[in-house]
């Protein structure tokens, strides 16, 4: 009994179309819909932060511009480019999965992970640690003494929470990419069966979109001229 069940389960997890679906199209649409609904909740989650940011930016414009001015726009732009590059490699990984090229799929998954790692390194080593040394981290080490200091501190609260939550999403993404890489290595995907790769692609591109909004709002609206 147990043996037959295990056999059944094993067989099922390798099947192209899971039992509850009529065909591949229906299965594909079901997983896409699930992923998009998850992304909708993520939009609301980040949306609340963006709403709060917009509100306080309008209330304390001068302080927020002063705070934004203290960030390194060059590193922000570089990181945007890195993340867009990782989105490209992720899209190419989906393409490789769809065309059943296992080695290319693994190569592009690895390059996505590397570019994601580069992003996190720049963020952590060159920005956050630098900002800590400069005394710009509210609660831990905040020594900014210019005009409107309390409101500049509020800007940095938004900055660290928004980029921090974004970085947590990246770290989760790196973990899922590692799992997918192992699955790809074990040959679990084919041109008939690549839904997990495509859903991971949706998630990764979503993180990219969040950063596309964070970059101008945090780094660029600080009147650099």
């Amino acid at each position: 009994m147990i043996a037959s069940r295990r056999k059944y389960k094993l067989h099922n997890s390798h099947a192209v179309v899971a039992e509850q679906f009529d065909d591949r199209t229906q299965q594909h649409e079901a997983s896409s819909l699930g992923m998009w609904i998850f992304l909708a909740t993520e939009i609301m989650f980040f949306g609340a932060l963006f709403t709060g940011y917009t509100l306080y930016r309008n209330l304390y414009t001068t302080a927020f511009e002063a705070g934004s001015h203290l960030l390194n726009a060059k590193l922000g732009a570089l990181n945007t480019a890195v993340l867009i590059g990782s989105s490209l490699t992720m899209a190419l990984a989906v393409h490789a999965a769809q065309t059943g090229k296992r080695k290319r799929l693994m190569a592009f998954l690895v390059s996505t992970m590397i570019l994601g790692g580069v992003f996190l390194c720049i963020k952590f080593v060159f920005e956050w640690i630098h900002e800590y040394k400069e005394g710009l981290v509210p609660g831990l080490h905040f020594t900014y003494a210019g005009p409107h200091a309390p409101h500049v501190e509020m800007f940095f609260c938004f900055y660290f929470i928004m980029t921090g939550v974004h970085a947590i999403h990246m770290i989760v993404g790196e973990g899922v990419l590692a799992v997918l890489l192992i699955m790809a290595w074990r040959g679990r995907f084919s041109e008939q069966k690549y839904n997990p790769i495509e859903m991971m692609g949706l998630y990764w591109h979503f993180i990219d979109v969040v950063w596309i909004f964070l970059f101008p709002l945090l780094y660029l609206l600080g009147a650099h001229y």
Binding site: L33, G47, T51, T54, T80, H151, P216, A223
Partner: protein, 116 residues
């Protein structure tokens, strides 16, 4: 339809457009356009997001249901932003009727422009 395989060419065109838009939004930040800096930055950000969603996230070829979910999310986001900001920025817009007491907690965060 839903299993559409996008051509590599499209991915690279989108990638380079995104890079060009990134460089332009970054460079425009160094030019003083007054209030328009914000507008231009947001327009560029929205177009970049639209490019990613349409091509990288395959919305161009996916079932209408996915687009519906995205529009629902954007709609609710717009509701949240409009009502929240509308509330905050209109506080104090209507003067207090004569004779009302201000015994309750201090004034709301003064309307926009408080500190400029």
């Amino acid at each position: 339809m839903s299993e559409h395989i996008t051509s590599l060419k499209i991915y690279f065109i989108v990638f380079f457009s995104l890079l060009i838009l990134t460089v332009s939004t970054w460079q425009i930040a160094y030019i003083n356009l007054g209030r328009w800096n914000t507008v231009v930055a947001l327009i560029i950000a929205v177009s970049k997001a639209a490019l990613v969603a349409t091509f990288f996230m395959h919305l161009r070829w996916s079932a209408p249901m996915m687009r519906l979910v995205l529009f629902a999310a954007i709609f609710w986001l717009a509701v949240m932003m409009t009502l929240t900001l509308g509330d905050f920025f209109s506080r104090g817009a209507v003067p207090q009727p004569h004779g009302w007491q201000t015994s309750v907690v201090a004034s709301p965060p003064a309307a926009a422009g408080h500190q400029r």
